[in-house]
Subunit: 238 residues, 2 copies
DNA sequence: CGGTCGACTTGAACACGTTCAAAAGATCGT
DNA sequence: ACGATCTTTTGAACGTGTTCAAGTCGACCG
C-alpha cells in the first residue's frame, strides 16, 4: 500500500446539492471502464494507469474525480444494491409467508451477486475497514444501508407474521445484520456455485422464522424484550 | 497496493518440523522491531524500510524471513491469543456459573486487546481477506482457532450448565463465532474506552446464557436440533 | 477585445511493498 | 586446505497508488 490513507472527506463544500452536469460524462466513463476492467481482471490486477488509459484520460484526471482507487468500487455497490432491490420487490409480489419472503430476498441477493463472486471478494475486503466509507456501517453508506433495512421492513410488513410492536420496529435492523452475516459467509465460501451458502440460507431462514414466531411465547418474551432494548441502547450514543 | 498478491504457500518443504536455530535470532529481532514500530506509528505508517533499518538488516533480508509485511502481524496475533488464554484460565478459576464464565472470557479479551485498539483495527482488516492466512477461518489459523474454541469448551465443561450432548459438542464453535462477532463490533467501536462493546458483552452474555438454558425446553428442542445439525452439515464438505 | 477566474487536465515525481540476481558466509566431505 | 553446496544477506530495480505544480480551456466581465 503506497497510500497515505486518512485523507477522507475534507471536501464537500456547499455544492453538494448540485453536481456539475458537464463533467459527469467523464466521471461515468471512468467508472464504467473501471467496472469492466475489474470484472475482467479483478480488482488488484487492474491498475489505475490501465483504467485511465482505456478511458482515454490521464491518471491525474481519474484522481480528480475519485479520491482513491477504492472509491471506484462504490459504483459496484450501487449497481448491486439497486439490482437487488428491484429484483427482490418483484419476486416478493403476492407472497404472504414471512419465511418465504425472507428466503427470497436472500436468495435473490445471491443470484444478483453471483457474477461478482470470483472477484467480488476483493471488493468486500475493503468494506471491512472501519475507516473506509465503503464499510456497510459507515456514515457514507447510510443511504444504501437504510434502503436494505427498508427492504427487510417490507419483508415483514407485507407478510402474515405476528409480532409485537417493539420487535416489529427493531427486526428489520436485525435481519439486515443477519444478511450481512450471510454475505460474510458467501465471501468465504469456496464451494462450487457457493452451494454451501445456499444451504445455509435454505436452512437458517426457517430457524429465524421459527424463532420470530416463538418470540411472543411467555418464556421467550423477556429475551425478546431485552434484545430490542439492547439494540436501542447501543444505538443511542455516538 | 503494489502487491502481486496470490503468492501464498508454495514453499514449505519437508523441513517444516525443525526450524534452523541459527537465524531464529534475526527473525525474532525483525518481528520485535516490527511490533514496536507498529504500536508506535500504526501499521500503515510503518514502512518495511523503517523496520529493516531499525532492526539493522536490509530490506531484502526481512523478506527472506517474512514473505510479506502482512505476515509480520502474525506475531501480534500469537502474542494476543497467548495472553488471552492464560489470563482467561486464571480468571475462570473456581467460577461455576456459565454466564459469568463466558463473560469473563470476553471481558478478558477486551482487556488484553485494549492497548492495540488504536492501531489494531488496521491489523484486523487484513484478517477479513478470505485469501489471507491471517483470516480466522483460514487453514493457517487452525491452531489458534482450535485453541480459542478449546477455551470455550472449558467455559462450558467446568460450569454447571445443563445441556444435551449434541449441543454440548457444537456450542464451543458457536460461542467462538459469537466472540468473533464481538471482536467485529469492537473493531468498529469508536466510543471512549470501547464502552459500547463492554455494554454489548455485559448484556448479550446473559441472553446467550438464557437461551442455552432454554434450549432443552420442549418448544425449543427442534430449533436447537436443527442448529446443531446445520452446523455439522456445513462443516462436512470442503 | 483583453483579462481574470474557475473548472478541468496533464504527466512527471514520490513513497511504498516487493523481487531478484548477485555476493558473502557457513558447513562439510575429502 | 579446497572446492561444493547450501543458507543468509544485500541493495538496486520494478510496478503500484497517489500527489502536485503547471498547464489548457471556456465563460464571463470591463
Amino acid at each position: 500500500m503506497a497510500t497515505p490513507r486518512r485523507s477522507r472527506r475534507a471536501e464537500r463544500g456547499p455544492d453538494t446539492v448540485h453536481r456539475v452536469a458537464k463533467s459527469e460524462e467523464t466521471r461515468s466513463l471512468i467508472v464504467a471502464t473501471a467496472m469492466r476492467l475489474f470484472s475482467e481482471k479483478g480488482y488488484d490486477r487492474t491498475t489505475m494507469r490501465a483504467i485511465a488509459g482505456e478511458a482515454g484520460v490521464s491518471v491525474g484526471n481519474a484522481y480528480y474525480y475519485f479520491s482513491a482507487k477504492e472509491q471506484l468500487i462504490q459504483g459496484f455497490y450501487d449497481e448491486l444494491s439497486h439490482q437487488h432491490l428491484t429484483a427482490s420487490r418483484q419476486a416478493l409480489e403476492g407472497e404472504p409467508d414471512f419465511g418465504t419472503r425472507l428466503k427470497t430476498v436472500l436468495l435473490t441477493w445471491l443470484d444478483v451477486a453471483r457474477p461478482y463472486h470470483r472477484f467480488g471478494t476483493q471488493f468486500f475486503v475493503n468494506a471491512a475497514d472501519p475507516e473506509s466509507p465503503l464499510s456497510p456501517f459507515s456514515v457514507d453508506s447510510t443511504a444504501a444501508r437504510e434502503a436494505s433495512i427498508g427492504l427487510m421492513r417490507e419483508v415483514i410488513e407485507s407478510s402474515d407474521v405476528k409480532l409485537d410492536q417493539e420487535l416489529r420496529e427493531e427486526l428489520p435492523g436485525l435481519l439486515w445484520l443477519y444478511q450481512m452475516g450471510i454475505v460474510l459467509f458467501w465471501v468465504h465460501d469456496r464451494s462450487p456455485h457457493t452451494k454451501r451458502t445456499r444451504m445455509l440460507v435454505e436452512r437458517s431462514v426457517p430457524l429465524i422464522a421459527r424463532l420470530v414466531g416463538l418470540s411472543r411465547l411467555r418464556v421467550l418474551r423477556p429475551v425478546s424484550r431485552e434484545i430490542t432494548s439492547l439494540i436501542r441502547d447501543l444505538a443511542k450514543q455516538d
